[in-house]
Symmetry: C2
Subunit: 359 residues, 2 copies
Amino acid sequence: MIASLKDLAQRPAPWLVGEAPDRDIVLSSRVRLARNVEGRHFAHTAGESTLDELRERVLAATGRVGGLVGATVLNMEDLAELDRRFLLERHLISVDLVRNLPGRCLVVSDDEAEGIMVNEEDHLRIQTLRTGLDPLGALKGALRLAEELEAEVPFAFDERLGYLTACPTNVGTGLRASVLLHLPGLAQTGDIERVLNSLRRLNYTVRGFYGEGSGVIGSLYQVSNSVTLGPSEDDIVQELLRHTRQVIAAERKARRYLMESEEVGLSDRVWRAHGVLSHARLLSTKEAFERLSDVRLGSGLGILPGVDESMLNMLLISVQSAHLQIVAEASLDAPARDEVRARYVRDQLAIAHTRKDER
Amino acid sequence: MIASLKDLAQRPAPWLVGEAPDRDIVLSSRVRLARNVEGRHFAHTAGESTLDELRERVLAATGRVGGLVGATVLNMEDLAELDRRFLLERHLISVDLVRNLPGRCLVVSDDEAEGIMVNEEDHLRIQTLRTGLDPLGALKGALRLAEELEAEVPFAFDERLGYLTACPTNVGTGLRASVLLHLPGLAQTGDIERVLNSLRRLNYTVRGFYGEGSGVIGSLYQVSNSVTLGPSEDDIVQELLRHTRQVIAAERKARRYLMESEEVGLSDRVWRAHGVLSHARLLSTKEAFERLSDVRLGSGLGILPGVDESMLNMLLISVQSAHLQIVAEASLDAPARDEVRARYVRDQLAIAHTRKDER
């Protein structure tokens, strides 16, 4: 069980730390499966009593599912808006669950890697997160959860279409697989739009860090499949993996080019970013992301040796406004947040620096 | 004797270091006395042979003057252009001596506090420099030198007008006294123009750090008298002292106001400046000056305790282009200078930091 949101806020999201394949470019991989309980209205047309009943059934089922025994249940109705925004920042719930409360809840494992959103667009949104480039691992986890749940709750399924979903774009596999990419090299060389456009032509959706509708910040991009009907789950994820590897290769090439053609300028940008993060007394979210992106690039290129990538990933999550306020146990206005954010980033970099010196 | 310009370049200008009155706002005080040898054409109408003869006479006289025994003589003809620009950056010669070579020379004491430019606009420009707010000390030194020299060389003097000079604006006392002020507080509150305009109305000349015609950089201002005829030397300097004290009071008030009304914003600016200076890999002269100005303000306000003001003052001189090239013993293009400058500033700040830790 997760003791409190504050405990969560003070620790790194486990799916952003540790060793993993290509983690200098791929922060994490994510899979979600949309499922609906057979014979019930979809969530957007269901009344509150149906939503409540659905929640009870799903929660009863999750209690019997191996991967979710001891998981934490968070009812949206019981949470303050700040708490819900915190879960959104932490990539555990969607904007939908921040806004719509009755009957909605999150089931989440202690390591935050497995979870279910109940009564989001679909009755169940089974979700798994993995560090680095590991969408197959995420898929495996999600399918296992889905299978175990299906043994407890019958899912709406059509022989011809596959799993039925509230929105036709998810019908079939109900699968969305995504990777969170850090592409500062391509952003700097100006090749980013070309690369993203070829992904779009391949029917991938490209978004900023915060998901749907969010602008790009810190050269962080979420790439996900949009086709769910036709190919198998495995095919969809294998394709995503293949195309992601091409993007990784392009990003590596861009970084090599930058190191060869403008090493000093790049080094200047990276070191200045570190200087700002370790010295500023006021720091907006946007600037924090941009400078963390620069430092993360420098770390990946060996310009800033000894800067811990896990710590940088953690900061990308924990510098966000709701995180800061949950930790501070106070509602803070924008200038106060900028001040708290700056202090937090300085402290974390100083801790990392001390740890490095002790090695 | 000064062994080499490189030795000079690698040490702080002595008149910018050490304890002195109001040194957080007044970097240095300076006096120059214009004198001409009786019965000779002014330098701008004198032929080369006359200039040579004048130089011989002045140098013979300086050899017998107590304050200049063992002083170094630098003939402009013998110096490379880079060397002359170095002396300009170091405030030892004027642009005139960078451009015009024959018969021109500099006599300078080991501590760089006393000197004579020979055959600049006037045959002799006796100059003294003192740390902090000490124009009376500078005047005393200059008058003593002038008196000793006058015993050796008769100066052009008119009973009614006083000392005769090549330009009528200097006639009488031939005195220009100036103070080098750091006014970031007034610059930040926006009161600077009001303060400078009242100085201008009182017939003071206000210039940037590099003297005549130079733009203001790093909130550094040179304020000097323009009236030389009428009042006594002592009156001129006492008036400058009095008005400078008013400017100091206004700057202190501005700093107090900023600390009260926007301490966090100010602190952010100061710390960021320190972050940039200690991390950047490329640094232009302009940015170095601006950030050194911020750090210097922070040091004066106690925001950045332990940053050595003498070191900051030294950097204001030694980050300049000719200084960097003299130390590097190489001609460097602008990007190379920016790189060398960044490294130099980082090294100096790191040395200061180490020293502080050792205390």
